[in-house]
């Protein structure tokens, strides 16, 4: 171990608690939650999350007090085999503390929000007993996320990495009996897990290579050795970083593995906010930032990463334009924003990437939660409207003719601004932040990425700029479709604002989204300096570029133009009920492509999923069972044995051996038939023969 271990003590010994407090909350709710009220269950879970946040703050303060000197808190021996030595150990440095603060902070707000949201959701979905389970999973998620960010080695990071994947799976399939054909949610969960697993294999391979090249998986030791290795065998580091990129594309939803994230919206909305927007999906960004000392050594990998990020940002933004589901828009927006971050860390702009990660956590969580509020507002409206009808027309059947009402479809909304004031305003803040309008947080963080890109990689810069334009456009489209204009359904007319337990976290997040830019203003670069402690420990030069007006102007202008365009299509003439999207008329098949997600899912099904299913059926049914099990073993092996046995039986056995045996038997029988005459059955005869024998034997002895 390196020298940092010596300094462990005081406040840092609390570090393991960031994992154990949420775990304790989870176990408590699991064991006793069944007897407690919903408020108490939610309260305990939120308190666990909140306490974790407090610990994270304490760790941050302590870290600040010692000038960002990283600390490793050893905890428990784990896997020790020969040269392979990995322990459970907690690494506290500015990077991990930043992640902890985001995870626990946003997590706590979402927990609180969820108390209100899930209270209604479980009623809508018809199983109130599942309220507790939600918070159990949420606390488990916080714990796993903490393991991910605080782990001292790649292996421990991987534990959290897969652990959050598990929570994601469980929460996407939270309403496992709902969704398309009743199984849609569960399948979405499976998809998320399996696609993530593909990325995880990349992580595994990265770790194998790491270990056999570096002889260790601990961050400190790997980074210490990296320059040396790069000098001799840079190819290995290139391989490692590319393997890691596979993992990143899985977890952070980049091309080509992003497909699971939009489907993951099947989970309850707070889950989308916490896991699939603010925290878990940013783990890939964190990983690359964490591995900065490796990535900076191989520019080729960096270019690949940046390109993947840029392409994803652009590609996902186009799809977001064509979506009608309020959450799907946000989902593709998330993919796109993750592309921004990945591109940033790929280019080596780690601070910019992390900064965008933080601000994105604020405004995207805000947007998702607000959309949850909208959805429930619609649900409430639908409920009211439905009840009103039931009073009027009693014998009416349960809406068997009309398709089931979709509270998430933006085409059913409109004009909600009047009925849901708070939600509307916070949504506006989130949307503007996302669109990158100054002085909101999104402007600063996105601008920093664009600034770096304009210096480092022109292709990526262009891709990102276009993506930024699309971002502004689809957010504008969404705001106008959802909140402005006239209600396009009865439910929208009767929609109601959410309770305070939901709106309060929204307001806090809105404040954060608004002022988040202050963290890293172009001048002081507070956040950058904070992170530099971590990066500079490994002699990475964190060059901060000066604020560049042209870049900021271009991006702002494009954002404004995007919003204006949105206004032109959706604001000037609000959509009417049942009206075709005006973009279809202009873009034609391109819009269809956007709407159908460029048929990527279909292509994947055609290329991978269906062949796999068919191949496994062929293997199972034909190769393994009919050919190998039935034909080879039954027909060839057992059959030829039987043939051989039959041959022996009828030819050899019956033909030759039996005849000999029968002949012997018959002969014996005939002899025996004559011999049996001797057996008179009279004991005296036997005695006589005995006596005769004695006489003869004695006679023989005498005459010999």
């Amino acid at each position: 171990m390196l020298s940092e271990t010596a300094t462990v003590g005081g406040i840092f010994s609390l570090a393991p608690l960031v994992v154990f407090i949420p775990l304790a909350g989870m176990i408590f709710n699991m064991l006793f939650g069944g007897r407690l009220s919903q408020k108490l269950v939610g309260g305990i879970a939120s308190a666990a999350s909140g306490l974790t946040f407090v610990i994270a703050v304490l760790l941050g303060v302590a870290l600040y007090n010692q000038h960002g000197e990283p600390v490793v808190v050893p905890f428990l021996e784990w896997i020790h085999i020969g040269a392979f030595q990995v322990d459970w150990a907690f690494r506290v440095d500015t990077l991990s503390v930043t992640m902890m603060l985001v995870v626990a902070g946003v997590g706590t707000l979402i927990h609180v929000y969820s108390v209100g949201y899930m209270h209604e959701d479980v009623i809508h979905q018809g199983d109130p007993s599942r309220f507790r389970r939600f918070f159990v999973f949420m606390n488990l998620f916080i714990a796993m996320m903490m393991i991910l960010v605080i782990g001292d080695s790649y292996l421990m990071l991987f534990v959290g990495w897969e652990g959050v994947g598990l929570c994601s799976y469980l929460l996407i399939g939270f309403w496992y009996e709902k969704g398309e054909n009743g199984i849609g949610n569960a399948i979405a969960g499976n998809k998320a897990f399996i696609v993530n697993r593909i990325g995880d294999v990349g992580m595994l391979l990265a770790m194998f290579t790491l270990f056999w090249v570096f002889g260790t998986l601990t961050f400190d030791e790997v980074f210490e050795l990296a320059p040396e290795i790069a000098a001799t065998t840079p190819a290995y580091i290139g391989l490692i970083t590319l393997f890691m990129l596979v993992g990143v594309t899985g977890k952070s939803a980049q091309i080509p593995l992003y497909v699971w994230l939009p489907d993951a919206m099947a989970g309850p909305t707070p889950v989308s906010a916490l896991i699939h927007a603010a925290t878990m999906v940013t783990a890939g960004v964190y990983l690359i930032a964490r591995s900065a000392p490796l990535y900076t050594l191989v520019p080729e990998s960096q270019n690949v990463v940046a390109l993947v990020g840029g392409l994803t940002a652009f590609f996902a933004a186009t799809i977001a334009v064509g979506q009608n589901d309020i959450k799907k828009v946000l989902a593709y927006s998330t993919v796109s924003q993750l592309g921004f971050m990945v591109a940033a860390v790929g280019m080596g702009a780690f601070v910019a990437g992390m900064f965008h990660l933080v601000s994105h956590a604020f405004f995207k969580a805000l947007l998702f939660l607000a959309s949850g509020s909208v959805i429930q507002g619609m649900e409430r409206g639908h409920h009211l409207e439905h009840h009103a009808h039931e009073h009027d027309l009693k014998p009416r059947k349960k809406k068997s003719k009309e398709p089931p009402f979709d509270p998430q479809d933006m085409r059913n909304m409109g004009g909600l601004a009047g009925r849901m004031r708070t939600t509307y305003w916070v949504y506006i803040v989130g949307a503007l932040a996302l669109a990158g309008i100054p002085p909101l947080s999104g402007f600063f963080s996105k601008d920093e990425i664009l600034l770096e890109a304009s210096h480092l990689n022109t292709t990526v810069y262009i891709l990102l700029t276009i993506a930024a334009f699309f971002t502004a456009f689809y957010m504008g489209r969404q705001v106008w479709m959802v909140f402005l204009g006239q209600p396009r359904s009865a439910a929208a007319e009767k929609a109601e604002e959410s309770p305070a337990v939901m709106t309060l976290p929204l307001i806090i997040l809105a404040v954060l989204a608004f002022f988040g830019g202050l963290l890293n203003l172009p001048g002081p670069h507070t956040f950058g300096h904070w992170l530099e402690y971590t990066f500079e420990a490994f002699h990475l030069e964190m060059e901060t570029l000066p604020f560049s007006l042209p870049v900021a102007l271009i991006s702002t202008l494009l954002a404004v133009v995007g919003i204006l365009l949105a206004w032109m299509f959706y604001g000037r003439q609000p959509l009417e009920k049942g009206q075709e999207d005006p973009l279809r008329g202009i873009l034609g098949w391109i819009f269809t492509g956007m709407q159908r997600k460029w048929w990527v899912d279909e292509i994947y099904h055609f290329l991978f999923v269906n062949p796999y299913i068919q191949l496994s059926h062929v293997f199972a049914e034909y190769v393994d069972w009919r050919f190998w099990h039935d034909w080879f073993h039954e027909v060839v092996l057992a059959g030829s044995f039987n043939q051989f046995a039959r041959f022996l039986n009828f030819r050899i056995d019956a033909g030759i051996i039996d005849r000999i045996a029968n002949g012997l038997g018959n002969g014996t029988q005939q002899i025996a038939g004559q011999m049996r005459q001797i057996q008179t059955g009279y004991v005296r005869n036997y005695a006589l023969s005995l006596f005769l024998g004695v006489v003869l034997i004695v006679g023989y002895i005498l005459l010999r």
Binding site: M675, R676, I678, Q679, T680, G681, R684, A687, F691
Partner: protein, 101 residues
Amino acid sequence: MMVPINYFVALSGILFILGAVGVLVRRNLIVMFMSVELMLNAANLAFVAYARHYLSMDGQVFVFFVIAVAAAEVAVGLSMVIAIFRTRQNINVDDLNSLKG
């Protein structure tokens, strides 16, 4: 002065042959049995005679065992006689030939 050993052996032989002939000629199961006892006694006599001849106690020990075994044999044999008699009301061995092949 003393009786030579061959006398005893001769007597033993005569008694043994008499016993054997008795087994063969009599049809009464009980008398056959008694003849067998006679044969045993003839053998015993030879044993004791040789014990004296060789001044070894083993011969007498054997006689002791023979007597014990004879006692057991008689007990079992007579019980069989009784069993046979009970089922057939007869102890004529010439009526017993169920083992005839």
